[in-house]
Symmetry: C2
Subunit: 267 residues, 2 copies
């Protein structure tokens, strides 16, 4: 229970998605506002698809709205409404946070990869020069692939059943980061410094493992983007073999500071 | 300080206006929600004019938005976005509360006159058969004029410096309520049962009286729509002469139940 004093001068942020009832962001954001004394509140926004474009059009004129967090299924639709985008958002054609600048311009960014990498770095796992196995080339996978390439992994292997999606991501990453060597499966001498599941496998009702844990090395850090359960069958199997793990909620937690930093840039 | 627990399933209402920082409605509404256990919150919405139409377009698709309260200067612009309007809202071409029905239709009403009349009735002042002096034929004046005519005043005198505005309101009220006799100044035998200031005179910095108090009768109830100060110079002068008074805040207070009733109709 958060003590909030909403007045006529309170700034109003949103989290946009559909469905929206399950999101935890209002509680996290409003606790942050109460703790820091920010006169701001975040409320949920469940829009039917036809409302997305008019909402962002209105947001340009919404003088007490610092911005909007965006979740499934509107990250691409929100990107299409931006005036300006971060490098990663432009690469992905998607954004998960939109700031309204005082002149009404909408500036988007995507923090999934940032949160993921921040959590890894915080546990002392270097990305530069590493061999990185990415499983899944959808929205989350592409965001993480771009972020770890940007941070200078040596080799990136991307597993993805949809070959067109996989090859498109690999080609675009090679173009953007010529020093990163990209593979559609791990070469023989691949070191598996980090393995990342960016598929839905491991969610409740999806018990299959995305990759055989026994093929990983004894020093592999095994990570997952699935938010619930925190410890997926993949992570549990890795832990059983004595490997270090990083959960989906840890990645989400790592994102919050980037979201706040984007919505409320230092003057 | 209101204790609010905003989650992903909380309903979100707005108060739209510009400027908006001065409004008290968020505190009043959110205290009501906390008291009644409604999982709903009201937040301020300061829109530049070009944002009004897209906002209401988005609101039609905003599945967790029960509706929006509207204040200066957007009561007419909001009316233009409605799918359906109350009789009084249609008469005035303005609304101060818009409900979003589950099918996305926007239904508007105007409660200024309702709140005013409710407060009068609550203090035992009958409107039916009375002689009513209305000073000012702007938005608030027209709303009150329509409401007291609907409630069967016998004679209505409307004072307004803008003669076109005055005569338009008088003509339209006569058309809508043929039994009410309308005047552009009080006839000799006018009883002044109620006098209402619906002009900005009496706001801070506007000390002039809208009407000479000595022309009113000893039984006149003197009322004002100015919200701040609560007791205007006009009301103070009336009170000094021993007349009963009704303040602007009392009218606003009378409106809240109508606003809630419109936003959350009984099933």
């Amino acid at each position: 229970m958060v003590h909030i004093d909403i007045s006529g001068s309170t700034s109003v942020c949103f989290i946009l998605g559909k469905p929206i009832a399950q999101v935890k962001t209002p509680a996290v954001f409003n606790a942050w506002a109460a703790r820091t004394g920010a006169d701001a509140v975040l409320v949920p926004l469940a829009l039917a698809e036809t409302g997305v474009k008019p909402f962002f059009q209105a947001m340009g004129d919404w003088e007490n709205c610092p911005g909007c967090i965006v979740t499934y299924p509107y990250k691409q639709a929100a990107y299409a409404c931006l005036h300006e985008a971060s490098e990663t958002a432009a690469f992905l054609g998607a954004c998960n946070v939109v700031r309204r600048d005082p002149d009404g311009r909408l500036v988007g960014a995507i923090t999934d990869g940032l949160g993921y990498a921040k959590a890894l770095v915080a546990r002392g796992v270097p990305l530069e020069g590493s061999d990185f196995l990415l499983i899944g080339a959808g929205g989350a996978g592409a965001a993480i692939g771009h972020e770890v390439a940007r941070r200078g992994v040596a080799r990136l292997a991307v597993l993805e059943l949809d070959e067109t999606r996989r090859d498109t991501l690999l080609r675009r990453l090679e173009e953007a980061f010529p020093t990163v060597r990209c593979f559609c499966e791990p070469p023989k001498d691949f070191r598996f410094d980090v393995a990342c599941n960016a598929t839905p496998l491991g969610m409740h009702g999806e018990p299959r493992l995305p990759f055989p844990v026994e093929r990983l090395g004894p020093a592999t850090v095994v990570t997952d983007v699935v938010p619930d359960p925190a410890v997926t069958p993949f992570l549990a199997a890795a832990r059983d073999r004595g490997l270090r793990i990083q959960t989906g909620p840890e990645m989400v937690e790592g994102q919050f500071a980037f979201v706040i930093g984007h919505l409320f840039p230092a003057p």
